[in-house]
Assembly symmetry: D2
């Protein structure tokens, strides 16, 4: 059967590439992946999956950092024009762009795989220096670009869906393929993780296309560490404007609150339990040189090497944010724009994948040390933690390849062969888990 | 002759109003008054004035706070389409929008009057609640509005020009009518004051349309006090961006420099010699939540009740700005965007105007206390100080009337009768100064 | 009668000087004036005054900035050794060092005079360069010195008491001579002003020995302006200490609260209604280089040209102080250590003194402009405001003379002739007010 | 021979204890260890060592954090009274309290051992709850206590000296026993490390008495990691005082510089290369509530897990310190009060000690993982780095035991059996290195 899966993956590879390039061309940012999600849902339905999409799959109140109504409406129209599936478009519009395809095949474990689908706020380089330019699939949506490989993840997901559908008779248990919106900014996973879809999941995994490490040529790393739990906050100080020369005392200076906040946030003590981070990435305040600033808006993030360390940072930061408002009698609004736990990959899950590759996928080079650093955050951690909370296990892999330009760069691209690796490994692991119950 | 002047002013009044409404409709912001300035120059030439415009009248390096090339070009085209005088447009383009009209009539003193011509960055209310809406002269240029009466000042200036041209045979000496750009933000006067045009001036004055004080009904106040000397600075911190989680230590955080700067600027000690002011009106910094901010731009102003107090503030502020850069190893760029001295009106000049009104303009109600508070800044102070530096005298009057809405408001308007008062008083004072040498 | 008063003042002058030098030698700081107060009380009793002292005259809870129990006990013993009156010592111990002497003589107005009695925390220069050194009355109490003339004020007070006692048959109404402790730091007046003693007072005045103004040689100025209302606060942040390398996160850093507080206090906006001041005069924080600071103590003062401006500053400052605690999760303790209103001298009261001097005291040179700047604060303002609140009037005079060294200097001294002037003027004004009811 | 060493150590043990208790009783703080150092020197001389003491052994300019002249003089007298050796007292006075004893025995390697000798600024608990109280060797010097075991280190050092002197004929090479002052505050080692004494050293080691880890019962750990490089700075801002109400603008506010410095120091970015620390442990500023603070003194320390990380912190901190001065036009004085590198123990050195114990000291339980965390700083790192710089090797061991109370606590004490372990291990290792050249 492993040989059959490998053959299918190879047979379907041209289609995998075509799907990836289509998603790349019609790149859609977080919560706006209406074309992408609706097409995924349609394809899953056509393959025989039970499809869950939109509100069925998401807790509305746990979606974070949504764009405003106007942006949502504009992009709804755009998606429609760019070939969204009309039926599913209605289900995923208004910021409900999650989709899952489910196959239930009798008794057996429940296996979930996560694929993220959103693009970044970057306008793509349209020169022919990278494949998208050379082969005509540069993003046609200005300010939206798949510069982090999620187009590839989505294409792997749909190909895995096709393979598993083909061999469904040999799968004993349940498979859930989850396509997540708004991973960038760690905004989308929480609403899915809290929806109930993961409550019966025994195994969950995901992977990310990644730059090959220097002097190494492994195809996959079985897990990641050095991840950060993180919280993204928007902070808005509301004061009162006044003429700065005529009656400064009638103003309530939002910028003085903000400046105090910024300096003090950076002064949160270091923590001997592990790494922490703080950043005030942007500020915009005030309307004119001679006017006491009425509002100041800041984009902030805190991080910690563990969820506890991130909590330490977030709690301290909130005190500082509130104290800065009190100081200058301004009112402060704090919005949670994203949140992720730290990732704790299970050795048992990595052992399983290791063994599958070792026995059945000789040509996939697996890194012997299981963990490789993420040095960032991914809200897949929400899903994995949800599964782990009831005794399930999971991991988050690296699928390595050579990149053209680094992630989040306007000339980013990757070697599409990685899609074949991903498809094969994911499918084989799913098969293994649903076929070899006794072995675990 | 005073009676004749009064009659002429009344006769020309409808034209004064028409000019004011034309300038109002085609409102142009500071350094972009190309249509306004070219039309003024054309009219002055037609009246027989020797016209000085653009570079002849301005020290290029002392112009402050200019818009960028692109804005200048766009507005050049706009001015052309909106009826600018083609000949003078070429002279005043590229941020050289000052114009002066000069009559030299033999021996005698030199008298200068200043009229400011620029509009504000406000989009006008187009409802019919105020005259511009009702009578169809709302600004047709979005983001530009005469909300501070400079359209009226310009109209007074051109009518005074017409009257003085008519009686030029009775004027012994020289008259210089100076139309100044970019008074808002105190950006334009310095370049004119340093050009040489004021070097032989004996008397200089200007006036400003103003809201009538509560419970008073005077037509003019002969001078202003409680003015602020001021310096406008743009401050840009240049740092180095870096991924805030991955390698925060490789960043040089421009926002930390800026936050320190803001807090410390406000902490400059109060000064027992008089009032001082500080404001950081706007800040924009950073590009993304998870990126160490590379640049931070601040718009700052300092003020002092006297030029010395303003110097105290500016010198101290510059230390803080530099120290904040040193702290976080950023590079700081400081641009002077505007500067004005405090105004010191000469009692002798106010006495003269008082006497002219008292003897010849019985219907003009002059406030018996000479000085009325400005509570702000005007860079006419540069011109007056230049004249005073070589022994000349001057003053800055208030022309009071009822306003609709307050200055800098999108529904601002004023009772146009104030234009008649201004025209009459200015012309009579000019005549007095150039006709009655012995009396001074 | 005015002549008689002048004669008595002259006759008693040697005793006035002797009293002043005795108080100078046994200088006692605020709330510790136990010897001084008990001797004053004894003398007043001997002169036939009804004496009110200690708790009878003071609202305990409104005493501000008291020394601790240990200091009070040490100084009690010292006062006893240095000749305090044993009976009154018991009444004025424990920080109740106010004394008043009252004569009630039938119907008539109530007149109060305030004399402050405390010394400063300065160790006196014992060289013979100034009179105390030359004539042997240098303070024998280290760290306590009459460097602001209150010894002179007290001596004037007791001499006035003696004169008025002598002419008591000619006084119709009530005289209240109030000897106030702890004027330095504006700590003592509030407790007296709220005690009820001023509730029936129609006229109140006080005076202060002062350096002659340059190029002037007046003996008295009838009132003062340019006074500051002020509030003195001690602020203590209580955090938690921790090893700064081992576990910085377990500390709660009192110094970070304090540093934020200091910077933000100085950034309180300037006020267009008048002068304001802020100062953090001292800070002491922390126990060791490698320990997160557990406590930080700050001595703060705010001021305003009016009581309203001072309130603006105090309210804003308290917000900042609290916000700084919230920021770093510390607990803050705010103690009011002193408070004074601004002084508003009544023209009517100054007119009366002017007329008394003009008619009866030809040799006293009164400054023709009534008001002279104080440029500081005096909590006599509490008493005056209390009297004014129910319709009474008052003023605070300057008694000018040549000083040796400036006030608050360790070599301070003054020409004792000013004591005669003070005694004479005060007594004559009191007589005038209690003898000439119809004239007011 | 190892057996002989063990026997000697046991035989001398009572004397070891006696020496430790004597040094404990006459505890002397850093740079004041004049009694201790002079006695050590005398004993070394008596044992036949070549003694180097005071200026011969130290670079004067690299001593850090010395007490002032007055303190040095007082303690000189005290040391004399408490039984210092008169000859060596003259050599070690004035802050030159380092001593070394050297034996040169022909060809062979050079081995150095470091013993620190200073006490802490703590007044010892004199109750009988710990041995010093029970057995009468509580420190008789108030404010000085051996609360970190350096009395024990010194006692080990002198006993090792006695043993090695006894077996000197069997030692082929050179032994240098270095007794270092002022380890607390990492102030003393640099002056010794730069003196030349280490220039020919091949092997260097030291050890520290330490609390047994929970659930472990090893006698020694062969090395330490998780050490911090550190720099201790005193920062003094010098401004100008002024009356805070009368003329605030004439002041230069040292406290505003300090407050800015404090906040910004804590905001130095975290570093992804490893742990960093910052602390402002103390501040004292200002003289009075109503005076603009003229000086502010801060005690600061920075740390880094590596010398590079500490450098990052120190360089950044110095920028902030300077920038804060520039901001408020104050002058800043920065004094280096202490400095240590991070420690990098050599595996080869730890292997050697491991093997010695394994083969010859069966009863000493050596922890199988070599490294144990220090979580602090020790300027022995200066010495070890100096040796490593020319190819030598070294380590810094833990000698574990049960402690009474934690280090730096006023009730600290330890089980004296640890002295026997230390003496035995050090002597055996020294013998091994100087006897078995071929084996290395």
């Amino acid at each position: 059967m492993y040989e059959k899966i490998k053959l299918l993956a190879t047979e379907y590879f041209p289609e995998t590439v075509q799907i990836r390039r289509d998603f790349h061309k019609y790149a859609e940012r977080g919560w706006l992946e209406m074309r992408t999600a609706s097409i995924i849902a349609r394809k899953l339905e056509n393959l025989g999956y039970q499809v869950s999409a939109g509100k069925e799959l998401m807790r509305e109140e746990f979606r974070m950092g949504l764009p405003n109504k106007r942006i949502l409406t504009i992009n709804y129209k755009r998606a429609l024009l760019q070939g969204a599936d009309p039926y599913y478009l209605e289900k995923v519009k208004d910021g409900f762009t999650a989709v899952a395809g489910i196959i239930r095949n009798g008794e057996g474990p429940v296996v979930a795989i996560r694929f993220d689908i959103d693009a970044l706020s970057i306008t793509e380089d349209d020169s022919t220096n990278h494949n998208p330019g050379k082969f005509g699939f540069v993003s046609c949506n200005p300010g939206a670009m798949h510069a982090c490989g999620h187009d590839g993840h989505s294409a792997i997901g749909l190909t895995v869906a096709k393979i598993l559908a083909k061999i469904r008779e040999n799968l004993h248990g349940t498979i859930k393929l989850i396509f997540q919106p708004a991973e960038e900014g760690v905004r989308g996973a929480k609403s899915i993780a809290t929806s109930g879809i993961l409550d019966d999941v025994d195994y969950i995994f995901a992977g990310h296309i990644w730059q090959q490490a220097p002097d190494e040529d492994y195809d996959i790393y079985l897990g990641m560490d050095e991840t950060f739990a993180t919280t993204k906050l928007d902070v808005i100080y509301h004061g009162v404007s006044s003429h700065a020369a005529g009656m400064p005392q009638f103003g309530k200076n939002a910028l003085l609150s903000a400046a105090s906040c910024i300096l003090n946030l950076h002064s949160i003590p270091r923590n001997s339990d592990g790494c922490t981070r703080i950043n005030v990435g942007t500020i915009n305040a005030g309307t004119g040189r001679n006017v006491v600033p009425e509002t100041a808006k800041l984009e902030i993030e805190v991080r910690g090497a563990t969820t506890e360390l991130n909590n330490y940072m977030e709690v301290y930061a909130r005190d500082i944010i509130q104290g800065s408002a009190l100081m200058h009698d301004t009112i402060v609004e704090i919005k949670q724009m994203g949140k992720a736990y730290s990732l704790e990959c299970d050795k048992k899950m990595m052992d399983i994948i290791h063994d599958v590759c070792d026995e059945h996928l000789k040509n996939v080079k697996v890194a012997p040390r299981y963990l490789s650093p993420l040095d960032g955050s991914d809200d897949f951690s929400y899903m994995m933690a949800t599964v782990q909370a009831h005794g399930g296990i999971g991991t988050y892999m690296k699928l390595t390849t050579d990149l053209v330009a680094s992630p989040h760069n306007c000339a980013f691209d990757f070697d599409e062969k990685v899609l074949l690796t991903g498809t094969t490994v994911y499918s084989c692991v799913a098969y293994y888990l649903l076929n070899n119950i006794e072995k675990k």
